[in-house]
Point group: C2
Chain length 226, copies 2
């Protein structure tokens, strides 16, 4: 009896799954700009053209990678007693996913028609329905929630693009926010009174808490409409 595994496959064979996996590694470790077809091909020890046999183009590659990350969020967020709770955990799931993979933020906000967004739409939408929002208002309520999430995703990604991926992120964030706050505090007081005041709170604020506060604000608005 030979020990030949029936579904034998060459470990080195290229496939969309393997390509996407390698792409995610590059994105996570070296940042958005580091993902090029040349770098990807080198890591997979193949030619850059070979990738096009499995993937339509760079957009396809990024959309598939993003969906891979977001799929985990929507499937994990099923827990929660009330619809509000589910929405919160799902939103925080997106937030944490973007924290772990900042490039996901850029990709989500740049391409709202990709499947990852449909996943989120469905997840949020079901809960909004369960919340008792009247049918004619559901579309606007869900897209409002989605725009907020995608907007914050974009801002978060913008922050991640600013610093070299090998740096300590928390430390960089702190000094960066302090720099912005200092710039804001030097603005003309009559023209920018509010932003000057914001500059005092800016360096201390917690992104995650701020995000959740936004979600709660929109949920409160939906409550008052119902």
């Amino acid at each position: 009896m030979k020990n030949k595994i029936p579904t034998e496959r060459r470990t080195n064979a290229l496939s969309k799954a393997r390509i996407v996996e390698a792409a995610i590694e590059i994105l996570d470790r070296e940042g958005e700009d580091a993902l090029t077809f040349r770098a990807l091909a080198a890591r997979l020890s193949t030619g850059s053209g070979a990738i096009y046999w499995h993937v339509a183009d760079k957009n396809d590659l990024l959309a598939t990678a993003t969906d891979h990350v977001i799929a985990r969020v929507t499937t994990n967020a099923v827990r929660g007693s009330t619809p509000q709770e589910v929405i919160r955990t799902m939103a925080l799931g997106v937030f944490d996913a973007i924290h772990a993979h900042p490039w996901v933020g850029g990709q989500l906000s740049r391409n709202p028609w990709q499947y990852a967004v449909v996943r989120l739409l469905e997840g949020v939408g079901g809960q909004v329905q369960a919340l008792g929002v009247p049918e004619h208002a559901q579309f606007n309520a869900v897209t409002a929630l989605m725009s907020f999430i995608l907007g914050l995703a974009g801002q978060y990604a913008a922050g991640a693009r600013l610093f070299p991926p090998d740096m300590d992120r928390a430390a960089f964030r702190k000094t960066f926010l302090e720099t912005v706050a200092a710039r804001w505090s030097r603005l003309d007081p009559t023209e920018h009174p509010f932003v000057r005041q914001l500059s005092k709170v800016l360096p201390e604020h917690d992104d995650r808490e701020q995000f959740l506060a936004g979600i709660d604000l929109i949920l409160a608005g939906m409550e008052s409409i119902r």
Copy 2:
């Protein structure tokens, strides 16, 4: 007496203002991708390197162009009886500006630290203050509003990137939304019941109305917090 104008200047002299103006024309007429330093130099009949004497880099160029557009919005939105009204007109001003200059949407959402965003932050922030939102909640309220606006800006820009700039936009939008709706309606009913239902409303919806509904939802949430 010689008729020599004291502040005589060569009409052809390069300046940041002239460069930005030309850049905006290219962006509006031919889309985001058409703005290259080569195209810009050709239009100004100069060398591509000359632009760098007046502008730091492409990001500086885009940020300045964006600020140029947004400045008009914030200065024009001072009217309105209630703070809510001012916020609404300002938000719609942003919406209309992005409609007229889709590239502004991408630029705003991609770079939240540029001066144009500070302008909006100040404009919105002053009104949120006037609304009587307690000071500790102002930061979260304003950034929620801003994330929503920037999120929708990004989505709008994504839509604009999809079609060639020389096409009829309204017609393209219609057929595009119909295509998406058709795709959504073919999704698995047990996995995507909500999105399938959305697909019925999608092609008919009014972007501007949807945007305003989101603003009102957040305003209602702020109301309930006060």
